[in-house]
Amino acid sequence: MRRHTRRIFNICYRFTGNRTEAEDLTQDVFLRVYRTLASYRAAHGGFATWMTSVTRNLLIDHYRRTKRDRVTDSLDDAMPVVENKESVARRPDEQALLGELSGQVQSALTRLSPELREAVILRDLQQLEYIEIQRVLAVPEGTVKSRINRGRIELARILQQMGVRPA
């Protein structure tokens, strides 16, 4: 359970960029897994993949809910609000936890669209294989590759806008 808790918490944290929200979402994931455990079929993939699917669905639900709460029209306008909320809510130990580049990458991640963000997180942070990401996102392999590619390029552009350039 500890291994899964850590993994799910990290996915949630990288997606939301907020520890408190990640904690609540991790708890919700386990609650949903516990309630829908009977629907798990080993033939459709490993248990970790299934848990990741549940996590992804909850994260998308959470993103849509918070997007409505923010009452914004576009994602680009909405994200700075998240950043402001985060900067207010973030504790000093969280600030220390994020290194310079890591903090910038994390900040840039939260400005990606949710589709690209989840693909990049699953591939580059959780080190999942394409086939596993395909199962989690329930999209074809070509779409998975395309989202990962576009996510990386978009992330690089955002970092450039933030003034982060390769040495």
């Binding site: 904690e23 991790t26 609650l31 942070l125 590619n149 390029i153 390769p166």
Partner: protein, 228 residues
Amino acid sequence: MTWTCEQTEARLSDYLDGLLDAAEWTAFNQHVNTCAVCTPLVASVAHTLGGLYALEQVEPPPNLEMAIVRATVGVVHTKYDFWAWLRGLQSPRFVYSAVSVAATIVLLLTATGFNWRKPKLADLAPATIYRNADARVHLVYARSTKFVSDLRVVYEIQSRMNEADQNPAMREETIPQSSPKKEPGRTDNTNPSSPKQQNRADEIGRSLRVLACEFPILSGALVDRRVP
């Protein structure tokens, strides 16, 4: 193979993940090295990827696991906890343990003199249990000592008798002569009814003689008793 900027952007992840074949990889590199647009793009994405890989795992709060357990098992199934607990009592392991514990308690109480027919609460008082156990231990010790002492005497007698049986010369020397008119083992001046009885009488008489020889004091006492 000709390579375009669109291809570079579309296949950039394949290049970074090492999924391009040799021809594609060569064409990709040749294009990127000569294209002013693609060179910074590849460099920035590679740098971003390095930043992503450098992100370390974040440790969840220490109380998160307990919160999850409370939110799942602790809350959802509170109603069934009692029955789950009861089901746990039916497991063979618990039953065997309970029986062995009960047997141990019964043995200990019995050993301490607890009266099962008329049980009294006072018998379970620690002072009473201690007193009864102490008395029992002393009683058992006294009986054991007596038993060992008796055994020692019996073995001593048996060994002497065996020595006497195996060495007739010594027996003649050590065994006092009985009165000529009186048959050994006969106290009522009657003839034995059968040879078997005669043998037994002889055996007893021989034992008595050995005893008289080995324990003169006892023999004297017996004689003294017979005299009057």
